[in-house]
């Protein structure tokens, strides 16, 4: 193969790569998620045929959109598949590394950041929770625990998610496994403390309730004096409401390109790095109002987690980009030594093929927030900012607790145990008939608008 044909091949490959780049299309869809909404964005994603190496990113995004839309089964299917791909891609690929060091980073299979690898379990657990499958949710939280153990590092909280610990605590609590619930809440607290992040009121109440229930007097007193409040254990005629609130949309990565033209040898060298623009995220809260009221608190700021994950990888990405730049420079020099035209073609090919890996799970909420209140069983509760009232617990459930899932992107909220029929109105939007049918299955959380 002559250098000219090699250069032509590289050029064509680079052009094809750009045209068929499903990750780019996914990022475009993510950018318009806030305006277009989850259903339109999901419809848009379903038109895309993802490349094999982008499949995990694609499925993570379709899975989370389906979760927003209450398509529990569909969301689990996609997220399980993404999880399985990410797990199978943990081994180092020889061919992908070679391709990444000679062409660009997008030729690696997307296997998720540490946050993605843990958060996929959290999203799956929420999906199981909203269908009343507490054992299924428990399985996901056990798996999250294993993943976090694998990612654990003494010097950082990378891959350790407070949200995974809190949801695990919630699942254990709903299962009546108080010991395990307390352990999870303690770990959640430790992570937030290590990061220097505020302790949401719901976690404060969880820690106080569980330490009191289990009779850990010293620990209870310590928490009580630290948080300045007492436990709020529900009385005989009271129940508890838990709120999980997804706020905003996490940022997408963009590309930083540095191009240098060496006039002496007529060669352009480009180095690209993925980066996040400074976050402009302003959290919005949701207030759960019953006999008492509580504003949702940020448990996981995914804007921050995403940036931390990228920062942790940046040295490796920069080293690879440098190796690639040197290799490409040498290839151009080699081509130029044969003839000028081959050199120019090779130079164009090497510059065009230099693409930053801007793939990420970019349809996640910007933050995951929580709230919990106790309320008399015969009293209704409401979500203040959404002006939404929910019937008393005793009217629709034998359980003494209920979970609400709300999202800033939708007016719709989901409640488990499911509300009575008259309370849950059908979603009027077209194209969601299948979704409504799935929701009508016994035991699954239903939507209220």
């Amino acid at each position: 193969m002559t250098l000219r044909s090699l250069a032509l091949t590289l050029l064509c490959s680079a052009v094809l790569l750009l045209q068929g780049c499903s990750a780019w299309q996914v990022n475009q869809a993510a950018a318009s998620l806030t305006v277009a909404g989850p259903q339109a964005t999901l419809n848009r994603l379903e038109q895309i045929e993802p490349a094999g190496r982008d499949e995990a990113q694609y499925l993570l995004n379709t899975g989370v959109l389906k979760l927003y839309l209450g398509d529990w089964r569909g969301s689990r299917q996609d997220l399980e598949q993404a999880k399985s791909i990410m797990q199978s891609m943990q081994a180092v690929s020889v061919t992908e590394n070679f391709a990444a060091l000679t062409a660009n980073e997008t030729l690696r299979t997307y296997n998720g950041t540490p946050t993605d690898q843990v958060l996929v379990h959290v999203m799956l657990a929420i999906s199981y929770l909203m269908t009343g499958d507490l054992d299924g949710a428990r399985v996901e939280m056990l798996q999250a625990n294993i993943t976090m153990k694998q990612l654990a590092d003494d010097d950082s909280t990378m891959g350790q998610l407070a949200s995974a610990r809190f949801i695990a605590g919630l699942v254990y609590e709903l299962n009546g496994e108080w010991d395990d619930a307390l352990i999870s809440y303690r770990r959640c607290y430790t992570i937030l403390q290590a990061r220097g992040e505020p302790i949401p009121e719901a976690l404060q109440v969880s820690l106080l309730n569980l330490t009191k229930r289990q009779g850990f007097k010293k620990e209870y007193q310590d928490f009580s004096s630290q948080f300045g409040q007492e436990a709020q254990l529900p009385g005989k005629d009271e129940g508890e409401w838990f709120l999980i609130y997804f706020d905003g949309v996490v940022s997408s990565k963009t590309e930083n390109r540095i191009s240098v033209f060496d006039a002496e040898v007529d060669t352009m060298v480009s180095v690209v790095m993925p980066h996040y623009r400074p976050s402009t995220y302003q959290p919005r809260r949701l207030t759960l109002v019953g006999a008492e009221r509580q504003q949702s608190g940020i448990l996981e700021n995914l804007e921050v987690r995403a940036r931390e994950d990228l920062d942790a990888e940046s040295a490796k990405i920069l080293a690879a980009a440098t190796v690639r730049a040197v290799a490409k420079y040498k290839m151009v020099q080699e081509a130029q030594s044969k003839n000028d035209f081959s050199g120019i073609l090779m130079n164009i090919a090497t510059v065009v093929s230099e693409q930053a890996d801007v793939r990420s799970w970019n349809m996640l909420p910007a933050s995951l927030q929580i709230a919990r209140i106790k309320s008399p069983l015969p009293a209704s509760v409401s979500l203040a900012e959404k002006a939404r009232s929910l019937p008393p617990l005793e009217q629709f459930s034998n359980r003494r607790s209920a979970v609400i899932l709300a999202n800033s992107l939708l007016d719709r909220i989901y409640v488990w145990p499911p509300l009575p029929e008259r309370e849950s109105q059908a979603e009027p939007a077209s194209g969601e008939q299948g979704l409504q049918e799935q929701q009508s299955e016994q035991g699954e959380a239903n939507a209220t608008q």
């Binding site: 891609m89 943990q90 081994a91 180092v92 690929s93 020889v94 061919t95 054992d135 299924g136 428990r138 399985v139 056990l142 798996q143 294993i146 153990k149 694998q150």
Partner: protein, 195 residues
């Protein structure tokens, strides 16, 4: 050089091709180290053998003069994996029924549909073919159980320990008449490199 390229291309294409091979249902194929059909079969075999070799059924028959009636209750999955417990429970039901020593009645989940059908028969079936309500067989024992796991992980290595416990409880007096247990331990080493 061209020959080498052809050889590599052929190997590459061969690696991409889907292949299907039929294997015996009782053959052991471990791919990921997760719970699989072999584990389910091993549990069923152990439980069936144990349940049939213990005296609970004979004692009941000797005391009452009839075969014990069993209902399957909840078998909880408290493990790290989404395990379909119905596979080995169904294997157990089949083996125990076929032994002729035990009867099973439909579980809580299954009998709703049967009752609906009976109501429908009342309206739509010929009188001489109708099955009346209130004639169901009450269970003498309930089978309950759980699957637990302990997983120890270090880097690419894992030890996975599964313990399946099944219990038969007398409906009359809450006595546990049979406890079945199967333990499975696996050492899993994940690859550090892939193609």
């Amino acid at each position: 050089m061209k020959h080498w390229i052809l050889v590599f291309a052929a190997l590459f294409l061969a690696a991409c091709a889907t292949s299907v091979e039929r294997v015996a249902p009782d053959s052991t194929i471990d791919l990921s180290g997760a719970w699989n059909d072999t584990d389910s079969r091993l549990v069923a075999e152990e439980m069936i053998q144990d349940a049939l070799s213990r005296p609970w059924a004979g004692e009941f028959t000797g005391r009452t003069g009839k075969r014990p009636v069993v209902i399957v209750g909840t078998v909880r999955n408290l493990s790290h994996e989404h395990i379909n417990v119905k596979t080995f429970v169904a294997d157990m039901e089949r083996a125990l029924i076929n032994s002729g020593r035990v009867d099973f009645v439909a579980s809580r989940d299954d009998r709703g549909e049967i009752r609906d059908e009976r109501v429908d028969q009342d309206l739509n079936a010929r009188e001489d073919t109708r099955n009346a309500a209130g004639q169901e067989l009450g269970a003498d024992f309930m089978m309950q159980g759980q699957i637990n796991t302990i997983i120890d992980v270090e880097g690419k290595e894992q030890v996975r320990y599964y313990q399946v416990d099944l219990t038969l409880i007398s409906m009359a007096d809450n006595r546990k008449v049979w406890l079945g247990q199967k333990k499975i331990k696996k050492y899993v080493k994940n690859a550090k490199l892939r193609y």
